[in-house]
Symmetry: C2
Subunit: 334 residues, 2 copies
C-alpha cells in the first residue's frame, strides 16, 4: 500500500484515461466514478478497474465516444441501448433524461442494456437524491453468487442503491446481495488469509475457508434465504425490463474481450421530501450494543472516509498505483 | 391445532366479516387476503387478525365503507388518502388505477397513507404480475426491529414484495427485513420454546433466547448491516413519499384503538416480459447443498402449501378457530 495525495492520484488517473483515447467529457465522468470509489474505501470499484477499461476500449468491446440511444417506449419508460458505451457515461445521459421526465410525470424508469460496468451504484443514487429525487438503482453482473441451498453460482452480486432527499444531505444506501464481494475474497487470497466459513463455496460446492478455493467457487447470498430471494428478484427484474442476459450467460463485467450484456435499472421519483433528519438523528443517538462504538447510518462511513482521504491521502495497492502511472505515461513499466 | 376444511374455514370467516358490518364487496377482499395467508402457511397474517379488524371497525379507527381518495399529483404519481379504510380495499382500488395508468405511461407509483393493515404483500404482487406488470410493493409498520448495532427497535419489519411476469406463472417474492416476524416470537413464547441467540434483544437491549423477554425487546434485522440498510431505506422511502409516520411514531397495525398512520408504496411497471422460466428451471434443477432437499424458488413453497391445504384442510390454532366461530355466530363463546 502507498498513500497517495488525492489530487495527485486524480491527476495521474486523468492522464491515463486521456491516453486511452476517451473524449474529455466522458473521461471526466469515468474518472469521477472511479475516484469516488477510492475516496469512499471501495477499491474493488476504483482504479483497479482502469486498466481493464482501457483494454476493453482497445479490444473494441467498449466505445468511449457514445452516450447511448434513447427510446421512450412509453411516456415514463426509457429504453436505452448503451451502444457499448462507458457505464457512467451511458447512465449519466439516461439519468439526465429521466430526472427531467420524472419532474413532469412523478416517476420514470430507465432500462439500460449494452453498456459497460457502471461501478458503484451509490455514486448515482446520491447525486440524484441531492437534486431532490428518490431513486432506486439496480444492476446485474456475472454469476458469482449461489442460490440459497445450491452448490454453484447462478446470480450476480446484484447490488441495490437507494437515495432519498432530506433536509441536509440525502440518505444513500448501496449494498450488494452477496454476503461479500469477490474483490474481498481476492484480497484474502492475495494476503493468504482464511475467509469465514459462511462466505463461500469451493468449485465442488462445499463450504470453504480457503480464499483461493473460493475464487473458483461461489459467494453466499447475504441473509440466507431472504437475501437470495432479493438477489434473484433483482436479477429477474433487471434482465426482464432491460432485455439483458441472465445468470451464467452474463459476460463483460470482469473480462477484457466480451461484449457486456448485463442490464441496469434506474427508477426516479419526484415525490415530496419530508424531514428525515430528526429520525436519522434519533438513530445516530441510540445507545450502541455491546461490541459497537456507535450506531451507523448507511453511507455515512463512506462519507467520513471520503473527507479523511481528501485531507490525508488515499491508500492504494502498490501494483494499482504502479500500473496507473504506467498507463498515464508518468512512469515507465518496470 | 385443528385442521379445518378450507371451504368451511372460508365460509365461517365470511360470516364473521359480514356480521362486522362490512359491505359484501369489501368483506370479500378482506376475506381473500386473510384466507390466502392461511393457505400459504403465514398464519400471522391470517384469521388471527380478523378479531382485531372487527374491533378496529367498532372503535371507529377502521371504516369498512371507503376505498380511499385518489389524487394524481402528477401523471404517474398517485397519492392516496386511505380514509381509514380496510387495507386490502384501499390497496386494490389504488392498484386498479395504477395498472391502468402504467399501461399508458410505462410506470406509475401509488403512495398510500391513512389505510389499515394491508397484510401479506405477496398477495397483491402475484396478482398484478399475473396481469402482466412488474411490481415492487413496500409497507411500513410499528417499530419492532433494531438498527444494526443498536439496542432497541426503531424500524418496522418493513417487508418488500416483488412480482415479475413470466411465461407460465409469475415470479413472486415477499420478505420482511426483520430476521423473523414478531408472530414467530409470540409463537415460541406460547410454546415456551427458546429462540435462537441472534433473533432478538430483550427490553434492556441484550441478546436473549427467552421468547417472552424478546416480546418486549427488538427483533434483529435480517442479514446484519445489509438488511438494516435495506429496512431503513424502505422506512425512509415509504414515510417520505406517503407522508406517513416513521419509526416509533407508527401506530395502528398491532392495536385496536389507534388510527393507523403507516404508509404503503406500490410501483407498477408495464415493461417487456422475457422468458424467465428457462432460467428458473435451471435453478430448480441445481444439485442441492448438504442439508437441503432441493433448491427452492421464492414463493413456490407457499404455492405448494396452498394446493395441499385446499385439498387436505387448513391447520389453524384452536383459539383462532374458536374465536372465528364466535364472531361468525356459528358458536356461542365459552
Amino acid at each position: 500500500m502507498t498513500v497517495v495525495d488525492a489530487n495527485l492520484l486524480r491527476d495521474v488517473a486523468a492522464k491515463a484515461l486521456k491516453r486511452a483515447g476517451i473524449p474529455q467529457d466522458h473521461a471526466d465522468q469515468q474518472l469521477n466514478l472511479l475516484f469516488e470509489a477510492e475516496l469512499r474505501g471501495i477499491p474493488s470499484h476504483g482504479f483497479l478497474r482502469l486498466d481493464r477499461i482501457t483494454r476493453r476500449i482497445a479490444n473494441g468491446v467498449a466505445d468511449p465516444n457514445v452516450r447511448g440511444l434513447h427510446e421512450w417506449r412509453k411516456r415514463a419508460f426509457l429504453s436505452v441501448d448503451g451502444q457499448r458505451g462507458l457505464g457512467p457515461v451511458v447512465v449519466n445521459a439516461a439519468l439526465e433524461a429521466l430526472t427531467a421526465r420524472a419532474r413532469e410525470t412523478g416517476i420514470a424508469v430507465a432500462a439500460i442494456r449494452n453498456s459497460n460496468h457502471i461501478g458503484m451504484l451509490g455514486w448515482y443514487a446520491e447525486r440524484v437524491a441531492a437534486e431532490g429525487f428518490t431513486i432506486i438503482a439496480l444492476s446485474t453482473s456475472e454469476a458469482l453468487v449461489h442460490p440459497w441451498g445450491a452448490r454453484r453460482a447462478m446470480l450476480g452480486t446484484n447490488p441495490i442503491a437507494i437515495g432519498i432527499p432530506s433536509e441536509d444531505r440525502p440518505f444513500m444506501m448501496d449494498t450488494a446481495t452477496g454476503i461479500v464481494s469477490m474483490g474481498e475474497i481476492h484480497d484474502h487470497a492475495h494476503r493468504k488469509a482464511p475467509i469465514p466459513q459462511h462466505w463461500a463455496l469451493d468449485a465442488a460446492g462445499n463450504p470453504t475457508t480457503d480464499a483461493e478455493a473460493a475464487k473458483k467457487g461461489a459467494i453466499a447470498p447475504f441473509g440466507q434465504a431472504k437475501g437470495y430471494a432479493l438477489g434473484l428478484a433483482f436479477e429477474l427484474l433487471v434482465s426482464s425490463l432491460a432485455s439483458a442476459a441472465i445468470g451464467t450467460d452474463v459476460r463483460g463485467t470482469l473480462d477484457e474481450t466480451e461484449i457486456c450484456n448485463k442490464g441496469d435499472i434506474f427508477i426516479v421519483i419526484d415525490g415530496p421530501h419530508y424531514g428525515l433528519k430528526a429520525y436519522l438523528d434519533e438513530i445516530r443517538a441510540l445507545e450502541p450494543a455491546a461490541g459497537f462504538d456507535r450506531v451507523l447510518i448507511p453511507g455515512e462511513r463512506g462519507r467520513a472516509c471520503r473527507e479523511q482521504r481528501l485531507r490525508d491521502g488515499v491508500p492504494i495497492a502498490d501494483e494499482v498505483w504502479e500500473r496507473l502511472q504506467v498507463l498515464a505515461g508518468t512512469k515507465v513499466a518496470a
